[in-house]
């Protein structure tokens, strides 16, 4: 028979590591931006080293320095800013109309079965269809202007956003639905006060995907016929410079596309997520 054991007084815990503040390196490494910036700087260094050490022909592949210089020059001594503004305004119009249409479509899809079927069928048909493939038709219908670009941008936003928003609505838990109805919510208030916030993670994902699709479509469409509308956008800037064999400026144009993409993702969407779905623990 083994004896029973009782500990009357606990030994004093004597190690510094029960709760130790992290060193500044550990803390800095926990910051999202620091880690991502490190990756970016690493890529730049690799690029510069490759072009300098490999002695690459600048016409084919300019060094990072040359591309950065071209970007600086186009931004402040040329009309790149105007072109950015032009592209962004077209993009925002298309994006906004796309979101509005998606909201209407999803409302219909959640409120009736035929609406749901309509949405499912249409997304199955149109989502895989590249917006650029519609451009020839759009040019036929709307002419060689902004209207055509807006049309294809709407097409690229609408289906992606509708699909994920509708999925988000459908995956709201039965318990939350019952709670909403228990407290007397019906119709529109039920949708805005229960379904919409509960589906927000999916809606935000859809908006991010929609933004990326719209951006790509826009640049692609501008590459095709930016000049015809008088003041072309970013796509036209890239096309024009490649025609003139200004390869560094082509990279400058691509940089701009990337930088705007990163800025929107990290400043706009990231902040919305931090204030909503992360704070509420709906997404990690």
């Amino acid at each position: 028979m083994r004896p029973e054991i009782f500990v009357e007084t606990l030994e004093k815990v004597d190690t510094a590591d029960v709760e130790r503040p992290l060193s500044w390196i550990e803390r800095a490494w926990n910051v999202n931006g620091v880690r991502k910036a490190t990756i970016l700087i690493g890529l730049m260094v690799l690029w510069q080293a490759y072009t300098v050490i490999g002695d690459i022909e600048p016409l084919m592949f300019p060094s990072f320095g040359a591309a950065a210089q071209a970007l600086y020059q186009s931004l402040f001594h040329s009309d790149l800013l105007e072109k950015i503004w032009f592209s962004l305004s077209v993009l925002l119009i298309g994006y906004a109309i796309g979101l509005g249409l998606a909201a209407a479509l999803v409302m219909w899809a959640t409120s009736s079965r035929i609406g749901g079927d309509f949405l499912a069928t249409c997304t199955a048909m149109f989502n895989p269809l590249p917006a650029i493939a519609l451009l020839p038709l759009a040019m036929l219908w709307f002419g060689l202007g902004v209207a055509s670009i807006v049309f294809v941008t709407i097409h690229s936003v609408l289906w992606a956003v509708s699909l994920s928003t509708h999925n988000g609505f459908r995956s709201v838990s039965e318990t939350l639905r019952m709670i909403g109805r228990n407290y007397g919510l019906r119709g529109i208030p039920y949708v805005t006060k229960v379904l919409l916030p509960a589906a927000l993670p999916s809606i935000l994902t859809g908006m991010k995907v929609g933004w990326a699709f719209a951006w790509r479509t826009l640049i692609g469409a501008e590459l095709v016929f930016g000049a015809s509308s008088g003041s072309g956008g970013l796509g036209w800037f890239i096309f024009e410079n490649s025609q003139n064999l200004e390869t560094a400026h082509v990279f400058a144009g691509l940089f701009t596309v990337i930088l705007i993409g990163i800025a929107v993702e990290n400043l706009v969407f990231r902040n919305i997520e931090l204030k909503t779905v992360y704070r509420w623990g709906m997404q990690r």
Binding site: T175, N182, R279, G281
Partner: protein
């Protein structure tokens, strides 16, 4: 049904608060039409802690959803204060088993004010805030007023749900196995707290559980249902039992009685089998 004729302990009010009268409930799955309860009848009086007890598949949760108004009976009637129940409403507040019953985008306090404002109990924000704070204090969560639900433990989430339900001061509080997903220690504590809250305000509660022990501790009256489809087997008194009675002869006797009732069919089957 001889025992159901006896009046409940204390002064029984003239008219029952909730009348369930020969109710048959059915629901459809993809392939089957399932009869959950068959001609169930009972009456709940004000300040009752009325427990629906039965094994899984006896339709007790379905019955509660029927009372809540999510499901219409195919036969029979359910009346609250004499008015027929047709749809969900804030006069019958549900507390669910699931931890996701709190709105994750609202803090503890906002979850309660959301209910108060939308359920029509309050029209101004200040009043709703005051009531919310009062009920948060009752469930001992003062320090967590402005915390979002995902930061709380399971037991704390259930307390918020109970506070939200009670703050509405509904005619009847409907609880669907609210402690089933908690660990044993927390469950025990929550049962005691629920009884303490009841001592405080004597609200009426309809409580679903599959645990015989929980039914005896929480309930003042127990409706025992048979499995698949649920039919009434008995209606028993248990108002005299609490946690400190768990070891008593009374408690053991009631538990045994219910146990035998629920498993009578199975015992007969075992006796009939050659190995029995």
């Amino acid at each position: 049904m001889g025992e159901s004729a006896q009046p409940a302990a204390g002064a029984t009010p003239a008219a029952p608060l909730l009348e369930v009268d020969g109710v048959t409930l059915q629901y459809k799955t993809k392939e089957h039409l399932i009869t959950a309860t068959y001609r169930v009848g009972f009456q709940v009086y004000a300040a009752d802690r009325f427990v629906l007890l039965g094994p899984s598949g006896c339709g007790k949760s379905t019955l509660l959803k029927g009372v809540a108004g999510y499901l219409k009976p195919v036969e029979g009637q359910m009346r609250l204060k004499g008015r027929e129940i047709t749809e969900p409403g804030p006069d019958r507040v549900m507390v669910f088993q699931e931890f996701d019953q709190l709105l994750p985008w609202k803090t503890v306090k906002q979850n309660i004010t959301f209910a108060l404002m939308n359920g029509g109990r309050c029209t101004n924000r200040r009043e709703a805030d005051e009531i919310a704070v009062e009920y948060i204090r009752k469930v001992k969560l003062d320090r967590f007023e402005d915390t979002y639900p995902h930061m709380l433990s399971g037991g704390m989430k259930q307390r918020v749900a109970i506070a939200r339900g009670m703050a509405m001061e509904p005619d009847i509080l409907l609880m669907d196995e609210p402690f089933a997903a908690l660990d044993a220690l927390t469950r025990r504590q929550m049962q005691d707290e629920l009884l303490a809250l009841w001592e405080d305000t004597h609200f009426t509660v309809l409580f679903v559980t599959h645990s015989i022990e929980e039914a005896c501790i929480v309930g003042s009256r127990i409706l025992v249902l048979s499995p698949h489809p649920g039919q009434v087997k008995a209606e028993l008194n248990a108002h005299h039992l609490e946690h400190h009675n768990v070891g008593d002869e009374d408690f053991a006797q009631l538990q045994r009685k219910i146990h035998d009732m629920l498993f009578a069919d199975r015992i007969l089957e075992e006796e009939a089998s050659p190995h029995g």
